[in-house]
């Protein structure tokens, strides 16, 4: 009996150390950005492709107001409500005090400057595939935007999901998986894959999630229930979307469907971002959507 207790104790100890080890934050090396210089002009393209304004601008902002990134949008989920933080260059309430490496750790590793895990409501499993050059450019662009003095609000997350260390375990299961579509030979489709999977994070809404909130890569872009409850996002694989590539690109530019209905809901905000991109980027996303595996 005593032997059994010792064994159990050892098991708990090993398990504990194991959990402690796998949930440990692992930031980028300190010299990860050596030799990279940020260009705000290129960063603007990253900003609009990444959809930052959709969550970090004030919820009803339009036009230039979408460049004021004071946060405040509430994202409800089965785990609680996440409130988008202030990422304006305000040194006190925003991320004005961040280095480019801090932003790279946030986007690629899901880590705050003080080494805590972010909740994956911030789509770092997608941004992990963003290039470090793009992140450095994005930081240069963010630094040109107007500071907003609104403090970030706390997330409303209950036990046990409020234990941030547990997110480390979630990351082991769901982060750093790389691209879903295997590397395409076509340059345009490759660009589209980068825009849709890494920056645009289309899968966050259009791919169904498993019980722990991880994206089901076997059902990539096949449509999913809206986290807000009523309704679903559509299947945008060739199995669900029969629009031509021209129709898709035009929709991303203007919001008009081939039936000349217009985009609504969250997608209206996505279109407002995509409209800022050069036409070849929208065409690349369209080519990518034509190339992903069809799911009926």
């Amino acid at each position: 009996m005593r032997r059994f207790l010792y064994a159990l104790l050892a098991l708990i100890l090993v398990g504990g150390v194991g959990i402690w080890a796998v949930t440990r934050p692992s930031p980028l090396p300190a010299d990860a950005l050596a030799g990279l210089n940020g260009d705000p002009g290129r960063g603007a393209r990253v900003f609009w492709a990444g959809g930052c304004a959709s969550c970090h601008a004030a919820p009803e902002a339009v036009g230039d107001e979408r460049l004021k990134l004071g946060g405040g949008l509430r994202l409800s989920s089965p785990f609680g409500t996440f409130v988008a933080p202030n990422i304006s260059p305000d040194p006190e309430n925003g991320i004005g005090g961040w280095s480019a490496l801090d932003l790279a750790n946030a986007m690629q590793r899901g880590l705050s400057p003080d080494g805590r895990h972010y909740y994956p409501a911030f789509p770092y499993t997608a941004y992990a595939n963003a290039s470090l050059q793009d992140i450095v450019d994005l930081k240069a662009f963010l630094d040109t935007l107007p500071p907003v003095a609104t403090p970030s609000q706390s997330h409303e997350i209950g036990f046990p999901f409020n234990i941030r260390r547990l997110i480390g375990g979630w990351k082991v299961l769901n982060a750093d998986k790389g691209f879903v579509l295997s590397t395409p030979a076509d340059v345009q489709i490759a660009r589209g894959r980068y825009l849709a999977e890494a920056l645009g994070h289309c899968g966050e809404c259009h791919t169904p999630r498993g019980p722990l909130g991880g994206l089901r890569r076997d059902a990539w872009l096949a449509g999913a229930p809206l986290p807000t409850g009523k309704g679903r996002t559509p299947n945008i694989t060739p199995g669900g979307l029969d629009w031509s590539a021209t129709d898709i690109a035009y929709y991303l530019e203007t919001g008009f469907t081939p039936q000349f209905d217009s985009a609504g809901g969250e997608m209206a905000s996505v279109v407002a971002n995509m409209a800022h991109l050069p036409a070849e980027d929208r065409a690349a996303i369209a080519a990518y959507l034509k190339a992903v595996p069809a799911i009926e």
Partner: protein, 162 residues
């Protein structure tokens, strides 16, 4: 139409009118009033869509650019936008209490900035009217703001597809 059916139709029209007036004075619209308001605004949306269709087909290169047809379609959008039919946005005809509509109750909430967004659509359509008959590049440039104005309302005031 015979005389008696004309009278009937007239009487029916009058009673509908009276019903509308009574409904309005009591602040509680009837089911029929709500139904006809919803149909009315959906018809307006169809008119927008039809004319946008003409313009977008040219912008996408699916139809050859035709200055006269483009100008006519833009003028139509302006005419539809100018219809004095605020009655189709009857309070109580949103998703909270009516069927066959995706209009969210937020439209009628106090402090809703729907008026501001409607004004943005009028402005974008005026821009399109000025540009549509000039050339294809001008048309392409001016249709984007119209799409943006459509989306600005549909984002917050229309229920997402299910």
């Amino acid at each position: 139409m015979s005389m008696s059916s004309k009278i009937m139709a007239g009487a029916l029209g009058l009673s509908v009118f009276a019903g509308a007036a009574i409904g309005a004075s009591h602040g509680a619209p009837s089911d029929d009033q709500i139904k006809s308001a919803i149909k009315g605004r959906q018809a307006i949306m169809q008119l927008y869509a039809y004319n946008i269709g003409t313009l977008a087909a040219m912008a996408k290169g699916e139809r050859e650019y035709d200055a006269a047809a483009a100008k006519a379609a833009a003028d139509n959008l302006a005419a539809v936008n100018g219809l004095k039919m605020d009655g189709v946005w009857l309070p109580g005809s949103g998703t909270a209490s009516a069927k066959n509509t995706r209009a969210l109750p937020a439209i009628w909430e106090s402090g809703s900035d729907i008026g501001k967004r409607a004004a943005a659509l009028t402005e974008a359509i005026a821009g399109l009217q000025a540009a549509a008959g000039t050339d294809l590049a001008a048309l392409r440039g001016a249709i984007g703001p119209v799409g943006k104005a459509c989306g600005a309302c549909h984002e917050d005031f229309r229920q997402s597809d299910d």
